[in-house]
């Protein structure tokens, strides 16, 4: 993404060299790679941590106070003491902006005005698109929709911190990442309406976008299967020696799947450059996190698997941006996975098939919508920087609304995909059974012209 190139890299690296301890202090290799990224990138890329462990084992071989175990050295203790089930203090949450949009420190990656303004514009566009598409579903114009209300900062800020070469394995609440990458509103609308302009050929439910051009893998409805895929793709990038990572998004509910655990473990073992981004929004459809798991969220599981982890305020665009930015550097330069847990709130329903007021208090939803709106918080910061005015606010809101409405109107009028598209892409080349099916379908259409209008797209 061109705009990303405008970021002031020197300023962020100097900023982070002072405080890298706070971000990577508990890691295995805690030195300040920020200062000399290029050199370290080359040397670390394929370096395995195995050797460190083995070397340590050798040194400790003669020490009677330790157990020289194949996985590393363990100290003996006379204490009969179990690990506590819960830490005395919960893991802290990294934040940059307070509720009123004021930075609480300058401990964050600096952002250019152009990038910041685009981030805000995209957040507003995203919010507007969600609102109007949701209404379109309610009017019966599309069958299904998923909004990301309340999670705009996670979407846009994480996307902004990545580069276009990085591959995105989304769940289904990350359309904003695609929006940031340049997927047009018309393309979103075409997908939701399943017309022939949809680059998925009308095969997927609404909101299941995918675009090769934007390195955004087609959304899978299955929960959390994208996590191992992202690890596998990251391994592929590593094998190719590419200067890129993968990122995968998933919810708090997805962390209960076997795939999450398998992927986290594999990512650590394979030393794959992947960012595992958990949107902990409190609710998996109607299941609150307290019924989902009893750990201190997701962030603590990273350490259990040997993966660096951080918890961030998901409604703080600058915190998300900084965390993803640094995670990306670590993932690529050290060829390792990084887990990010963003605390946020699903301010909308799970999907259009859900009514969340049935299982959670309206006040709770309203409080998050009003007091914790990530878009408003980021706007206050922009205004404080002098980069945004009331006038520009009116203009962008109006502009976004017009664009989205226009996209829907156009998408509705575009033809549906041709019948032949039922049979394409099942395989690279259709085998005889598919060719036979298509042939017999065409014969049926020919035999019953009264049932198929002349403009029926074959």
């Amino acid at each position: 993404m061109g705009l990303l190139g405008m970021m002031n890299l020197s300023s962020w690296s100097s900023c982070f060299s002072q405080k890298q301890a706070s971000l990577s202090g508990n890691g295995r290799i805690p030195h300040a790679f920020f200062c000399n990224r290029q050199t370290l990138f080359i040397s670390r890329r394929f370096e395995s941590v195995k050797a460190d462990v083995q070397l340590g084992s050798l040194r400790a071989a003669g020490d009677p106070q330790v157990l020289n175990f194949p996985g590393g050295i363990v100290k003996f203790t006379p204490e009969l003491k179990f690990l506590s089930d819960f830490p005395e203090e919960r893991i802290h949450c990294y934040r940059v902006l307070d509720g009123s949009g004021q930075p609480i420190s300058n401990n964050f990656v600096q952002i250019d005005k152009d990038v910041a303004v685009k981030m805000y514009k995209d957040m507003v566009t995203f919010q507007t698109m969600d609102t109007i598409f949701y209404e379109a579903q309610r009017q019966g114009r599309i069958s299904f929709y998923v909004t990301a209300i309340g999670e705009e900062a996670i979407n846009i800020a994480s996307a902004a911190a990545l580069k276009m070469d990085d591959i995105v394995f989304p769940q289904y609440r990350e359309a904003g990442v695609l929006l940031w990458r340049g997927f047009a509103l018309q393309e979103f609308a075409n997908q939701c309406f399943g017309n022939k302009g949809d680059n998925g050929k009308g095969r997927q439910m609404p909101a299941h976008y995918g675009s090769n051009k934007h390195n955004y893998v087609t959304v899978a409805s299955t929960v959390a299967t994208q996590i191992p895929h992202a690890v596998g793709a990251a391994y592929s990038l590593k094998m190719d020696g590419r200067d890129a990572c993968t990122i995968t998004y998933f919810g708090d509910g997805g962390t209960s799947t076997g795939d999450f655990h398998a992927a986290l473990n594999f990512a650590a073992v394979m030393e794959a450059p992947v960012i595992l981004f958990c949107r902990n929004n409190g609710w998996a459809i109607s299941t609150p996190v307290s019924d989902q798991f009893r750990s201190d969220g997701i962030v603590v599981r990273g350490q259990a698997y040997g993966v660096r982890s951080i918890r961030v305020d998901g409604n703080d665009a600058l915190a998300v941006f900084s965390a993803v930015h640094v995670a990306r550097e670590m993932a690529i330069s050290e060829s390792r996975p990084v887990l990010i847990e963003a605390l946020t709130y699903r301010a909308g329903h799970h999907s259009t098939s859900d009514d969340s007021s049935k299982y959670r208090p309206i006040e709770e939803i309203e409080w998050w919508r009003a007091a914790q709106d990530p878009v408003a918080r980021f706007r206050k910061w922009l205004e404080g920087e002098g980069w945004w005015t009331a006038q520009s606010e009116i203009e962008i809101r109006d502009h976004a609304r017009q664009e989205v409405l226009h996209a829907i109107q156009v998408a509705e009028k575009v033809d549906k995909p041709a019948i032949r598209e039922i049979f394409t892409d099942v395989y690279d080349v259709p085998p005889s059974n598919l060719r036979d099916q298509e042939k017999s379908l065409r014969e049926a259409v020919d035999r019953h012209p009264q049932d198929y209008p002349p403009q029926f797209p074959l």
Partner: protein, 572 residues
């Protein structure tokens, strides 16, 4: 090599005893000794050069002193002498090893010397190389192998010596003068051509550049050798050579990995342990841990990771220790691998192979004895292949790896150690079988028997028994469950007018059911008898040997069904 059990003996072979004639195939059997053997076999002026190859810088010949005992043994064991001398020998073996591998040049693969030398266990590699070219004494014909890289000619004349019994000369040598002349001609041409520059160059290159430049020094010979190889292959395409299914799979993996750096293996125990069934033997050493990945024990994990790797550039071959364990990962096979190309409208193809043993083994009970052909056969987007013979295994696995779609490759544990004759074409690295085409294993006019995997062997045995009773059965080896070659099946049924389907899996919604349907739909009027389905009992697999046998189709079941179809036995 006839069967895997013969390795020790073969490896134990030393120099050919001088007291008896040296048979050509023996020379090859000694792998890395091929070169010196040329001089024994035919005395050409290359003798000096060839000897030079095996000498140290100080001129001492290590070749003849190389210990030849206890080669194929678990790591670290079996190599008694830890002396410097032994180390030297190893080093030299390594060099020769590279040489033999160069004949992997048949697949266009070059291994650099450092890669091999750093590997610990030269002996296993030798064995491995041995198997790679599948040279088993089998029949009175012979084959000539050449390298694209071009340094070795391997001649093989089968069935006049028994290797399995330790190299004793036994049976008759029955090749004709014609063969003899041609062999001599080819060998003399190439050896003489080499004498001029190639061997010297080879040695020099090894000494000077660590063997890295060897391909180029032989470039000039390539076209000559290719021509001769083509001639030889044409002349002796029915090689009569035998190869185990295990070796066929191993060689197919090796060749595809060497041909395409995107191909990598992943699974439990595929690396250090060389595969639970040793299908991946030698590959870790050859391709390294980045391309032969041992994984944590999570099928859902490595299958999902394989699918993700296939999304972005790699061509993973995922090994399930057995296909029973693929149940842990079936979500990724079906929801992810088989549908992604379609859901993304062709934007994301998934060139992945899931392979491993499928179906009943022996005495491993309900959770290790299921046939998944029908399961995966019912998933659009997947291709499902079921090899029977070594030729199937090689040709279909190579096709599967090259295919842009996800392929489920169902092997059979009990077939791994079985040897089959392989044609010369099947041994060529370019060999590939078409996906979706069945093979008529045996022609006949009275009844059609369809089978796949291990059951093909049963069907062939049944056909033999039937033949004695005057019934000629046509046996169709399906090879591919999806796509299913319905046209071959229907053409056969239209000829024989009778059909018996055989499979190990349970009958309901099974492969036989689908075959029955296609025949009813397309060839109903040709049927002279009800279709017979032979399948496993409709129960989970019992463990006790007698019960297990009862639960699986047996040759007699097929014979009886075929007779019923031919109205030669009463319907029960």
């Amino acid at each position: 090599m006839g069967c895997s059990g013969s390795r020790l003996d073969e490896d134990g072979m030393g120099m050919p005893p001088k007291s008896r004639p040296v048979f050509l195939h023996e020379l090859k059997m000694r792998r890395h000794m091929t070169r010196p053997s040329h001089k024994d076999a035919i005395s050409t002026p290359s003798k000096k050069e060839l000897l030079l190859y095996d000498k140290d810088d100080d001129g001492s010949s290590t070749y003849k002193n190389a210990p030849q005992t206890a080669r194929f043994s678990p790591k670290g064991g079996g190599e008694g002498e830890g002396t410097n001398k032994h180390e030297d020998d190893r080093k030299h073996k390594d060099v020769r090893n590279v040489d033999v591998r160069g004949k992997g040049g048949r697949n266009g693969h070059k291994v650099n010397k450092s890669e091999i030398s750093s590997a610990g266990d030269a002996e296993e590699d030798e064995d491995y190389d041995e198997r790679m070219i599948g040279r088993a004494p089998g029949s009175p014909s012979f084959r000539v192998y050449f390298n694209d890289g071009g340094e070795d000619i391997h001649n093989d004349i089968g069935k006049h010596d028994d290797f399995k019994s330790g190299g004793a000369v036994s049976s008759e040598v029955s090749f004709t003068d014609y063969y003899r002349i041609l062999v001599e001609f080819i060998r003399v041409s190439v050896v003489a051509a080499r004498q001029g520059f190639a061997v010297k160059e080879d040695v020099r290159n090894y000494k000077a550049k660590g063997g890295m430049q060897r391909q180029s020094c032989f470039g000039k010979l390539e076209s000559l050798e290719r021509g001769i190889r083509a001639t030889a292959l044409r002349a002796f395409s029915s090689s009569g050579k035998e190869m185990t299914v295990r070796d066929a799979l191993n060689s197919a993996l090796d060749e595809e990995m060497s041909a395409d750096p995107k191909v990598f293996l992943m699974g439990e125990e595929v690396g250090e342990y060389q595969g639970a069934y040793k299908i991946t033997r030698g590959l870790l050493k050859k391709y390294g841990p980045e391309r032969v990945r041992d994984t944590p024990i999570t099928e859902a994990g490595f299958t999902g990771i394989g699918v993700g790797a296939a999304y972005y550039g790699l061509k993973p071959v995922i090994e399930f220790m057995t296909f029973n364990f693929s149940m842990q990962a079936i979500d990724h096979i079906i929801n992810s691998a088989s549908k992604s190309n379609y859901m993304s409208a062709g934007q994301i193809s998934v060139p992945i192979v899931f392979r491993g043993p499928n179906g009943a083994a022996a005495g491993v009970g309900a959770q290790h004895s299921q046939c998944f052909a029908a399961w995966y056969g019912s998933c659009p987007g997947l291709k499902v292949l079921v090899p029977y013979s070594s030729e199937d295994a090689r040709g279909l696995l190579k096709a599967a790896i090259r295919d842009p779609d996800p392929v489920v490759f169902l092997e059979n544990e009990l077939l791994y150690g079985e040897s089959f004759p392989v044609s010369a074409e099947a041994l060529d690295s370019s060999f590939c079988l078409p996906i979706g085409k069945a093979k008529i294993e045996r022609e006949g006019n009275d009844v059609t028997i369809t089978a796949f995997s291990k059951m093909v062997g049963y069907a062939l045995k049944a056909a033999e028994i039937l033949a004695k009773e005057g019934i000629t059965a046509e046996v169709i080896n399906l090879r591919s469950i999806r796509p299913l070659d319905t046209s071959t099946i229907n053409a056969s049924v239209r000829k024989t007018n009778r059909l018996v389907t055989v499979e190990e899996g349970v009958p309901q919604h099974a492969v036989g059911a689908e075959i029955c349907t296609t025949v009813v739909e397309e060839s109903f009027d040709y049927l002279d008898a009800p279709v017979e389905r032979i399948a496993g009992a409709d129960v989970p697999m019992p463990y006790a040997a007698n019960l297990e046998r009862m639960a699986l189709p047996q040759v007699d079941d097929i014979v009886r069904a075929a007779k019923r179809a031919c109205y030669r036995e009463k319907f029960e």
